[in-house]
């Protein structure tokens, strides 16, 4: 079990180091407005890529139709400015119903 402890610790310390980069650099380095703009845009780009791969893929392959269909239902609801609760429950509900109906 020692190797597992070491793996968890390495993952924890490394992850915290990544997360400290922003707060540590902040105030010491003045970033040009253009770079700050790119960082905000970069965060959105990462999130959109994460949701796209999360909606469509599982372990490097297609995740099946039920999940992306549910996410699409959530996206349409969000686009129509539905409340946040409706978006999330709509997405999970649509996926659950599709699976119940036998769609993978």
């Amino acid at each position: 079990m020692n190797a597992t402890v070491a793996a968890i610790l390495a993952l924890a310390v490394g992850t915290y180091a990544f997360r400290l980069i922003g707060p540590v650099l902040h105030g010491r380095v003045t970033l040009p407005p253009r770079v700050q703009e790119l960082l905000s845009a970069g965060a959105i780009v990462l999130l959109v890529a994460l949701l796209a791969t999360g909606a469509l893929t599982e372990a490097g392959a297609f995740a099946g139709w039920a999940r992306p269909a549910g996410v699409l239902v959530g996206a349409v609801l969000a686009w129509r400015r539905a409340p946040f609760a409706v978006v999330v429950l709509g997405a999970a509900g649509a996926t659950a119903v599709l699976r119940w109906a036998g769609v993978g």
Binding site: I8, I44, G60, G70, A75, R99
Partner: protein
């Protein structure tokens, strides 16, 4: 901070956050359950959730441990997945607050959901409250969920029956939509980035596709009179 907590906007932030918390809590329960049902002792998912605190990296690391891939591969894959938090932490550095304690504690709360939630707010003051409200709540709910799941073990059955795997991407859609709606440059970059990430997903290790998506920023300056 106390006076800020009384403002009506905090109420709306808590209301909006609570669904993210609920979704994450349920994902946390399934994480704890999967880890223990797969044969890991209860403390592994519980401690990991407290000190690593990054859902996708935890799922991958535990998946690799359970598949017999070894601790080194588990840690390396988790770290690769979490490199994106470095970019997030740069994006929200001025949101955390000025004090040393706020920065050290806030850094640990930098996650996909919290950053998206903070950046979705319109003014700096609201961003800061949104970060802390959603971040502290998420930390509490995620870890409580993992503990419950780990104790319940395999009694829960297959959580994908409830469609919960669609909840997390839908949460992110709702959070990034305001930025995509109003900013054409961000929209172009994000679409190209997502297309790149999807195209390479079958061929590269987990975590790499999302990082490659940053190449989409190449479209960010186009069409601008600068």
């Amino acid at each position: 901070m106390r006076s800020l907590l009384r403002t009506p906007e905090v109420g709306s932030l808590v209301r909006d956050s609570s669904l993210v918390w609920l979704a994450s809590g349920i994902v946390g329960v399934s994480f704890g359950a999967i880890a223990v049902a797969g044969g890991l002792p209860v403390w592994v998912p519980v401690v990991m959730s407290l000190v690593v605190y990054a859902g996708s990296a935890q799922f991958s690391a535990v998946g690799i441990l359970l598949a017999g891939g070894g601790p080194l591969a588990a840690a390396a894959t988790g770290l690769l997945l979490n490199t994106r938090t470095a970019a997030y932490s740069l994006a929200v550095a001025d949101v955390l607050g000025r004090g040393r304690a706020a920065r050290l504690l806030g850094a640990h709360l930098v996650t996909d959901e919290t950053v998206a939630f903070a950046l979705a707010q319109s003014d700096p003051a609201r961003r800061r409250i949104a970060f802390w409200v959603s971040g502290l709540g998420l930390f509490a709910v995620w870890n409580a969920g993992v503990l419950c799941g780990a104790l319940a073990g395999s009694a829960l059955g297959d959580t994908s029956t409830y469609g919960l795997d669609a909840a997390f991407p839908a949460v992110l859609v709702a959070l990034v939509l305001p930025a995509l709606r109003t900013d054409a440059a961000v929209r172009r970059s994000a679409l190209l980035g997502a297309a790149l990430a999807l195209a390479v997903t079958p061929y590269v290790p987990a975590g790499v596709p999302v990082l490659l998506a940053l190449a989409g920023l190449a479209l960010h300056g186009k069409g601008r009179t600068a």
